[in-house]
């Protein structure tokens, strides 16, 4: 049966040969198009820094959208991209929220991470970071304070962390980002010019980080920043400002759920939630019953309702800071729309790519969409896009945003930066 043995060998050989030759699909040719990604800098606020779960920490930084974009840019000639990373001994940075489990009623238990923090004193100052950075995102940064308030460099600990002592209190963010000899930039700033106000229920209280930047001022300051970033004719991508109602911070604790809870309790069955709402005619606040158009903030403690009658009568409405009422929502929407019109106009004049973050986040509203089999929505925790603070994104959320940026860059500059595999990025961590 010698012949039979050789036939068996032939069969085995065929299997090996076919196993070795992989099925081929031609991948697209990679090109930088008309842009130059040699030195990419990222300018912006917490979203640019990789802030997540109510804090800035190493894992969030490593998954920041600019770092994801930069990694992909390297495939078409991009250069080094450094971030102000916390080191391993201080990897939890500012500290952040972690999910500890669920209460019997299904509400999440959030814990504050307090080990491996990066503070150098008890006043909330961070250990200084020195070294080259291309990610210039500063949590809390605003257009108005960034353009014209040198004192903000001392007041904002994330900014202070990056500055030599001599510059602290003496430089603006606009100065900080200038003169970096970049060839390409991303610019996503202006969110806090409305979000700071909105997340505080539309209450300013003389706090400049809670102020609403006027529409005219926004346009001027935006032009100033873009003027600085394009001083040598550099190309870049800018992003619009998301709708405040697109984020879980405003759509998780709902008036209807609170009222249903009141009704279910015999002691409060005849009561409904009362808020202190803006009267747009007078500009003054007065108490009224809450409706589903009023947005309660995520951090509102629902257990406080009814304690000494809190929130149940016109004499004792819930605090103005805890609700963005219907007319304040309208103001926020109006400002966001105006800001975005300015952004698109200024970007068009300079030929810049625009990532429409407003449209991007709106697609996750309600039931949301499926992203490669992942249910992605603006639902808190289960929506997979937003981190535990209900404002900032999960690594997965930042990855799909990064792909949105990449697609905008590609369509504007004719480049073919490949998008990233979003399935490589995690969601909210469960215990």
């Amino acid at each position: 049966m010698k012949k039979y043995n050789s036939l068996k060998l032939l069969l085995a050989g065929l299997i090996l040969i076919t196993a070795a030759c992989d099925t081929k699909i031609d991948a697209p040719t990679l090109s930088k198009g008309s842009a130059d990604f040699t030195k990419y800098i990222a300018v912006g606020n917490s979203l640019t820094s990789g802030y997540a779960d109510g804090g800035l920490y190493l894992d969030g930084q490593l998954n920041s959208f600019p770092s994801i974009i930069a990694k992909q840019m390297k495939l078409v000639g991009g250069g080094a991209f450094n971030q102000s990373l916390f080191d391993d001994a201080h990897s939890n940075g500012s500290g952040y929220l972690s999910l500890g489990g669920f209460n019997p009623n299904g509400t999440p238990i959030l814990n504050q991470v307090t080990d491996k923090l990066a503070y150098r004193d008890a006043m909330g100052h961070f250990i200084k970071f020195t070294g080259d950075i291309e990610n210039l995102g500063i949590p809390g940064m605003r257009l108005d304070l960034g353009a014209a308030a040198p004192t903000f460099s001392a007041l904002n600990p994330y900014f202070e962390r990056l500055l030599p002592d001599a510059q602290v209190g003496n430089t603006t963010y606009l100065n900080f980002i200038a003169g970096r000899s970049h060839t390409f930039f991303s610019f996503w700033l202006g969110n806090n010019d409305v979000l700071g106000w909105a997340t505080n229920g539309g209450v300013v209280n003389n706090d400049p980080t809670k102020a609403l930047t006027s529409k005219a001022n926004f346009t001027n300051l935006y032009s100033a920043f873009i003027g600085t970033l394009t001083a040598q004719g550099q190309k870049g991508v800018v992003a619009t400002i998301p709708d405040v109602t697109a984020i879980p911070y405003f759509n998780t604790v709902t008036v209807s759920a609170i009222n249903a809870g009141l009704k279910a309790n015999p002691q409060t069955a005849n009561y409904s939630l009362v808020i202190n709402a803006l009267n747009p005619a007078t500009g003054l606040h007065s108490p009224r019953l809450a409706t589903s158009a009023d947005l309660i903030i995520l951090t509102f403690n629902t257990a406080s309702i009814g304690v000494n009658g809190y929130g149940l009568s016109p004499l004792n409405p819930i605090k103005d800071e805890q609700v963005l009422d219907k007319d304040e929502v309208a103001i926020a929407k109006d400002y966001v729309n105006s800001y975005n019109t300015s952004i698109k106009t200024i970007a068009a004049a300079k030929g810049l790519a625009v990532f429409d973050a407003y449209a991007f986040l709106n697609q996750f509203k309600g039931a949301g969409i499926s992203v490669d089999g992942v249910a992605a929505s603006s639902s808190y925790i289960s929506g997979n896009v937003f981190s535990l603070d209900g404002v900032h994104l999960t690594p997965f959320g930042y990855a799909i945003a990064a792909n949105g940026f990449i697609n905008s860059i590609n369509s504007t500059y004719g480049s073919t930066i490949p998008t990233v595999n979003t399935a490589d990025y995690r969601f909210v961590k469960f215990p």
């Binding site: 065929l14 009623n105 299904g106 509400t107 629902t302 039931a367 499926s370 639902s379 697609n407 595999n421």
Partner: protein, 405 residues
């Protein structure tokens, strides 16, 4: 009073199971060498499968055994990406075994066969871009078919067999819930079940010498009851996940019309047209024993029917050596928007070659090699939005032994 966290939304469970890709047309080594055509000819014991009506026309009693190690090599390029991803090299082992016997008179023949008409083995790994649609699928259907075939006249044979199916499925999929270590959760569905059906055919020898076969293999609804559902999820969520599932595998019917032409004593040409009734496959449903976190699922599939055309030639080169070749084309039942990593299906081209060698008048060896080139197909799945290009090649060497008595 915060909205209850409903996790069900992120765990809509599994997608497609079957497609053309899971119909395995490897039921006889001689026929494989002829691109799988065999409804209109009486080559060997595999006629039990191809056309029970032709079985009675076999001259000898015989036993046929064969195996066709199958390599399903698929590639995926996600839209916008430059990374081509491949499934893992794993060999699926479709096999066939037939025994055909009857009295010397030749008026009647009995047979029993075991074969694997449906199956699939595809493993993309747990790191690829479509892992939330599928990590791996291992599907097996083993049909056992006792059969009787009678000669109505010297030129007409009728045959029918009862089909018992033992089916099993192991499906693994990543779940988008992050565990404390940052890794994915995972679902594994593992179950087996039984189904019943039939296979009947009629075979004519026409005056012109052309032979004709008409065959229908029925749908086999295979119920999977009490399968194991294993959800590897964070401990905070474990309570409320199901541990058992029920489902059913609707293995479709096939109707075939086959012809045999005999231009010379030594040459047989076979041509088959097959109609696969995939349109019965409307939905894929999974019923779980605990719906606290995962809802029962009913995923629309909406397949159309599939079809294939196959042409093969057998040339008896010498008394001992036969050479075979074939070509075929199959039309996919999977509509646009329903292509999945389990069945990255498209129309396919089939090419085959084979040889047979008679060591003695009783003992015969057959070798075959079948190639299926599944056309490149760029798709966005309607359910998952997974978007990209699939391209698959299937390589199937085969070996079979026959003993006549």
């Amino acid at each position: 009073m915060i909205k209850k966290l409903l996790l069900a939304a992120c765990i809509a469970m599994p997608a497609t199971i079957f497609a053309q890709g899971f119909q395995v047309n490897l039921q006889g080594q001689k026929q494989i060498g002829m691109a799988g055509a065999g409804a209109g000819t009486a080559m060997d014991g595999a006629t039990l499968f191809f056309n029970p009506g032709a079985m009675v026309m076999l001259k000898e009693n015989q036993i046929n055994l064969g195996v066709s190690p199958l390599l399903f090599k698929s590639a995926f390029l996600k839209a916008g990406s430059n990374q081509v991803e491949h499934n893992k090299n794993e060999v699926a082992p479709p096999f066939e075994a037939y025994a055909v016997f009857g009295p010397k008179s030749g008026k009647i023949k009995f047979g029993i066969g075991a074969y694997t008409p449906f199956g699939g083995l595809v493993n993309w790994g747990n790191q690829w871009s479509g892992k939330y649609s599928l990590i791996s699928l291992n599907l097996k259907a083993i049909y056992i078919q006792p059969t009787i075939s009678v000669k109505l006249t010297d030129n007409i044979g009728l045959g029918a067999g009862f089909v018992y199916n033992h089916g099993s499925v192991n499906l693994q999929r990543a779940i988008p819930i992050t565990k404390p270590d940052g890794s994915d959760s995972k679902a594994t569905l593992d179950g087996s079940g039984e189904g019943y059906g039939w296979n009947a055919g009629i075979y004519f020898k026409t005056l012109s010498g052309v032979t004709i076969g008409i065959v229908h293999r029925s749908k086999v609804d295979t119920k999977l009851n009490n399968g194991d559902a294993t959800f590897d999820v964070p401990t905070a969520l474990q309570a409320g996940f199901p541990t058992k599932f029920n489902s059913s595998l609707p293995l479709p019917a096939t109707t075939s019309l086959g012809f045999g032409f005999y231009p010379s004593q030594k040459t047989t040409i076979a041509f088959d047209a097959n109609w696969v009734h995939w349109s019965v496959y409307k939905n894929l449903e999974f019923d779980y024993d605990n719906n606290a976190r995962v809802a029962d699922t009913k995923s629309p599939r909406n397949y159309s029917d599939g079809a294939s055309l196959k042409l093969g030639i057998n040339q008896q080169q010498t008394d001992k050596l036969a050479l075979r070749a074939g070509v075929g084309y199959a039309f996919t039942p999977v509509k646009d928007g329903y292509v999945t990593p389990e069945a990255p299906d498209a129309n396919r081209l089939i090419l085959s070659a084979g040889l047979g060698y008679n060591f003695t008048s009783k003992f015969n060896l057959d070798l075959s090699f079948l190639y299926e080139g599944i056309e490149s197909r760029k798709q966005t799945n309607l359910e998952s939005n997974l978007s990209g290009t699939f391209k698959t090649n299937v390589y199937i060497p085969g070996i079979g032994l026959s003993y006549k008595f």
